[in-house]
């Protein structure tokens, strides 16, 4: 993780408002803005520029889009988001949402076209709404971590070819979310197990398996609310259902931030 001085962050404010910062920079900006109102104000002062650029060449949408939108909105009230997403959302959350964007957009295309054909819209919308609700629940559980949300990058080589996972530890509520990728399913009779290394000792966090595409999104409840002494997050292969202690050497590891 790159460290930036306050001066460097202020220099980055225009680029951040424009969406031109790298992931590293954007994460640093979002973190810093939470505790630095002056920096947040500096970025905010530039946010109307992209808004103006966006509004330069309006095109009136077809009335059916409006009708479809309002019909979709009637299927459910707004979901509560207790905190300010834009103010607190770290840069990795859009990355997490990227997967849902494909579904949402394709779902929207589907819904709109079904509306046009006047058939199947309700079923499609219900399915999309259910999926959106599930994903927003996941998102909210992360946002609720506030300043006590810790991200551990486990495995994943820089070439972007190896397996890995992102472990989002919401210490405020004792929850976590593990986003697993490029990890082929464990063989029959085996599962993967995630461990926290606390004061040098492994503590089980979750047991899971990945799907055929190598993905898994694991919601973890009831883990420690304190991350004191946590130095790493590890993954090992264990007998189905998991083990009390690792029975094989961890094959993925990630250093806990600040450890």
């Amino acid at each position: 993780m790159t460290r930036f001085t306050r001066e460097e962050l202020f220099e980055l404010a225009p680029a951040h408002a424009l969406g031109a910062t790298t992931t590293d920079e954007a994460e640093a900006m979002e973190r810093a803005m939470q505790s630095d109102p002056a920096l947040a104000a500096e970025v905010s002062a530039f946010r109307n520029v992209p808004a103006m650029l966006a509004s330069a060449a309006p095109v009136v949408p077809h009335p059916r889009v409006r009708e479809a939108l309002l019909a979709e909105a009637r299927t459910g009230p707004p979901l509560r988001v207790e905190r300010t997403v834009s103010a607190r959302i770290p840069n990795w959350v859009p990355a997490l949402l990227a997967a849902s964007v494909v579904l949402t957009v394709s779902g929207a295309v589907y819904g709109v076209r079904m509306q046009r054909a006047a058939e199947g819209l309700r079923a499609g919308n219900a399915e999309l709404t259910a999926e959106l609700r599930r994903r927003e629940r996941v998102l909210n559980s992360l946002l609720d971590g506030e300043g006590q949300l810790h991200l551990v990058q486990v495995g994943a080589d820089t070439a972007g070819t190896g397996p890995g996972l992102q472990f989002y530890w919401n210490a405020r509520q004792g929850k976590a979310l593990a986003h697993v990728f490029r990890l082929k399913p464990a063989p029959a009779g085996r599962d993967y197990q995630i461990w926290a290394l606390v004061d040098g000792k492994p503590v089980s966090l979750a047991v899971f398996n990945s799907d055929a595409a190598g993905h898994a999104l694991v919601e973890v409840e009831g883990i420690a609310r304190s991350v004191r002494g946590v130095t790493a997050v590890l993954v090992s292969v264990e007998p189905s259902g998991g083990s009390l202690q690792p029975t094989s050497a961890p094959f993925l590891a990630g250093t806990f931030p600040g450890a």
Partner: protein, 182 residues
Amino acid sequence: MQGGDERALATLYDRHAAALLGFVLRIVREHADAEAVLMATFLQAWRSAASFDGSRGSVLAWLAIMARSRALDVARGTKRRELREQPTVDEADPIGEAGEAAPVDPLAGVEQQERRRAIDVALATLPANQRRVIELAFFEGLTHVEIAERLTEPLGSVKTRIRQGMLKLRDLLAPLAHEGVA
């Protein structure tokens, strides 16, 4: 809208949909994709209305950030798909045929024209190299590192151009924002 009032959603849509559709179209090109992104953006706004924080920017800025993110994802997916196959008739089929969109309200049209002219003038005051990097960042979703690679220019120069261009635009476009346009 944070209270779940659908009329507020309709008002928000009526006020900003055209601006956002034009913006999204510039990124995704395909009319049907753009309208799908537009609808998904407003649904996201509806379902996460409580997340809007006015201290972080205007409503339009909030919507534009969401729309841009979705549009860039679609554009990148489209680019990947185009590498694999030619678009089918179905994929090219817009929600409403091209040109079917409703006419612009005359008064709103005048305001839009004035706004567009002001934005064009502001952009025209920028040196071409500043305008270029800002457009690459905003409309193509490139980071300053990627822009430097694309233009084969030093990263520091790109960063400086973005900063200088944004500073000028912020000052030049401030009157529009203060008129309540944003």
